[in-house]
């Protein structure tokens, strides 16, 4: 464990922002911190980056307690770098911004110019060195801030939503480079993000916060494919989350019997990923064990897929289909259709 947070609480203006947060970051992890806006991600990252002191709790770096002040704390802080959610650049050129972290560490001029050029290439800003930092576009600014932290080659790199202003292609390239850097150098990344694509493609472990508490922590797959609470399920985008009574026959949700593969009994929740729900005009015999008839309530475009709300008895189920499926099946609102899904697609918790 390179960094450990133990029972961290943070209060501001009498408001409890973080409650009893316990997290540990193993060396070389790419840790992704998620959660709704205002849940405390930034506050937590500021504590982790030693920029704020928590009101309560303690921290360890490589198993050594980090003191609240003094040389040792500075020493640990110097092994970290944080890129803020709303980065500010110093006045002056892009170069002078990026080199600053090296300069205060007393690196030689040669080394500085070599490293700065390298990192500028990495963030796709080759040739921007002489540009005045106040003339950059949003995405350029964000990348300079990233470069400024990367160039230090910290042991722990803390990123607070580092890719929000980037277009998808650039973002993809940049994330790939971060991933390469991660696997080459073994830097520990701690990244807050709202973007599941980023989280899934980069993260090894992660946590989801809610109201200042850690809701779930574990590997990325655990978080996305085994949400432990209804909040988690709805947070990771599972649309069809229902409370259910589990018995030997299956799960009773409202008046429907839903078959599943778990051996859970009693009260609980289940979720059916919208992508797992097949829509058809007629019922056909398949290996799917759940079949229901329903009516299309509404069809909505969500990005490049379409989300179809189907009323089955008292239950509103959402299925997502592609544009081509939509037109091939010729689906319209108000139409009667059939939905089906495999028992193994039902997530129980």
């Amino acid at each position: 464990m390179i960094l450990e947070l133990e029972n961290i609480s943070q209060r501001k203006n009498g408001q409890r922002i973080l409650s009893d947060v316990n997290l540990s970051f193993s060396k070389g992890a790419f840790f992704v911190l998620m959660g709704p806006t205002g849940c405390g991600k930034t506050t937590l990252l500021r504590v982790a980056g030693l920029l704020d002191k928590p009101s309560f709790g303690r921290m360890k770096y490589q198993s050594e307690p980090i003191p609240h002040r003094g040389k040792e704390r500075l020493h640990v802080r110097r092994r970290m770098a944080t890129v803020f959610q709303r980065p500010v650049l110093f006045r002056g050129s892009v170069f002078s911004n990026v080199e600053w972290g090296l300069r205060i560490r007393g690196i030689s001029e040669d080394e500085i110019s070599r490293k700065v050029s390298q990192v500028l290439v990495m963030v796709d800003l080759e040739g921007y060195g002489d540009r005045d930092s106040s003339t950059l576009s949003g995405g350029e600014l964000q990348r300079v801030a990233l470069a400024r932290a990367l160039v230090i080659e910290p042991s722990i790199l803390i990123l607070d939503e580092p890719t929000t202003s980037l277009d998808p292609n650039l973002r993809f390239n940049l994330l790939r480079r971060l991933k390469d850097l991660h696997s080459e150098t073994g830097i520990t990344f701690i990244m807050a993000t709202h973007d599941f694509t980023d989280a899934l493609s980069l993260g090894t472990t992660g946590a989801v916060m809610r109201n200042g508490r850690i809701e779930q922590t574990g590997t990325i797959d655990e978080i996305f494919y085994s949400p432990s609470t209804p909040f988690m399920a709805s947070f990771v985008g599972m649309k069809n989350v229902f409370p259910a009574e589990f018995s030997e026959d299956g799960a009773i949700v409202e008046d429907l019997l839903i078959r599943h593969t778990s051996n859970k009994r009693g009260h609980g929740f289940l979720a059916i990923p919208p992508g797992a729900i097949v829509v058809s005009r007629e019922t056909t015999v398949t290996s799917e064990r759940n079949h229901f008839a329903g009516t299309i309530i509404c069809i909505e475009r969500e990005g490049s897929i379409f989300s179809i709300s189907v009323n089955c008895g008292n239950l509103l189920m959402i299925s997502s289909v592609t544009r081509s499926a939509l037109s091939e099946l010729d689906l319209t609102e108000g139409q009667d259709i059939h939905i089906s899904f495999k028992a193994s697609a039902v997530h129980v918790f």
Binding site: L74, R77, A81, V83, F84, R91, G92, W100, I104, I152
Partner: protein, 230 residues
């Protein structure tokens, strides 16, 4: 106001002819006020930083006090320093009274609140962003403070120019603890005051013009340095 034209003519004359007395007074004035400003800046900009970057009880009150001291009359500073360094005072044995060094001391005290107060204002204007960024990149406390200062350098330089302006234009300290001794502690302002006392209006205004010319040189130099640095 024919005296004004006359004053310009005299000022020009003094400059062109290189009047040695005027030149030596102007040079002395510049040396004294620049020295005082530099010393005060070296001490009180850091003091302003200390006050700004630390939390403590009574901080707001302290800032109020500093702002109150913007109003300290130069004669009051003059008198206090006089009491301190006159023969009968606690530092009397140093024999500093009526010397250029004594004027420097008085001017440092005079402009201390200006430099401290404006430094605090300048830093308050920066918000926490810059400080946080510097810390997040591994800056120590001092490196962080220097960075924030350098980001607010336009304001800090205004503060320094304001301090210089106050020092170079003040009379109370220079008269009371300098004594306006010809050839030794006479500065442009005390020379002006003497001229005014004698009713030599045009000549006094001419000296005032020369003083402003000096100040102009200083302000242009400082501004140019600041812009070129950027």
């Amino acid at each position: 106001m024919p005296q004004l034209l006359e004053a310009f003519r005299i000022a020009l004359d003094m400059i062109v002819s290189g009047d040695p007395v005027v030149f030596s007074i102007a040079f002395r004035t510049l040396m004294i006020s620049v020295t005082a400003t530099v010393i005060a800046a070296l001490i009180f900009i850091p003091v302003g930083c200390l006050i700004h970057f630390n939390r403590f009880r009574g901080k707001r009150f302290l800032v109020s006090i500093i702002q109150t001291l913007f109003s300290v009359p130069t004669v009051l500073v003059g008198m206090l320093v006089f009491l301190l360094i006159s023969r009968a005072g606690p530092l009397g044995s140093l024999g500093m009274l009526f010397s250029p060094g004594a004027i420097v001391l008085g001017e440092v005290l005079l402009i201390a609140p200006i430099l401290t107060g404006l430094t605090i204002s300048a830093l308050s204007g920066m918000g926490r962003d810059v400080a946080d960024t510097a810390l997040s990149l591994g800056a120590g406390q001092l490196q962080m403070v220097l960075k924030v200062l350098s980001e607010s350098r336009y304001m800090v330089l205004t503060a320094v120019l304001m301090g210089f302006g106050r020092a170079v234009s003040e009379i109370g300290v220079a008269i009371i603890i300098g004594g306006n001794i010809s050839g030794y502690t006479r500065t442009l302002t005390t020379a002006i005051a003497l001229g005014v006392g004698k009713g030599e209006t045009s000549a006094s205004i001419a000296l005032g013009i020369i003083l402003l010319a000096l100040a102009m040189i200083v302000s242009v130099t400082v501004n140019t340095l600041q812009h070129s640095e950027k």
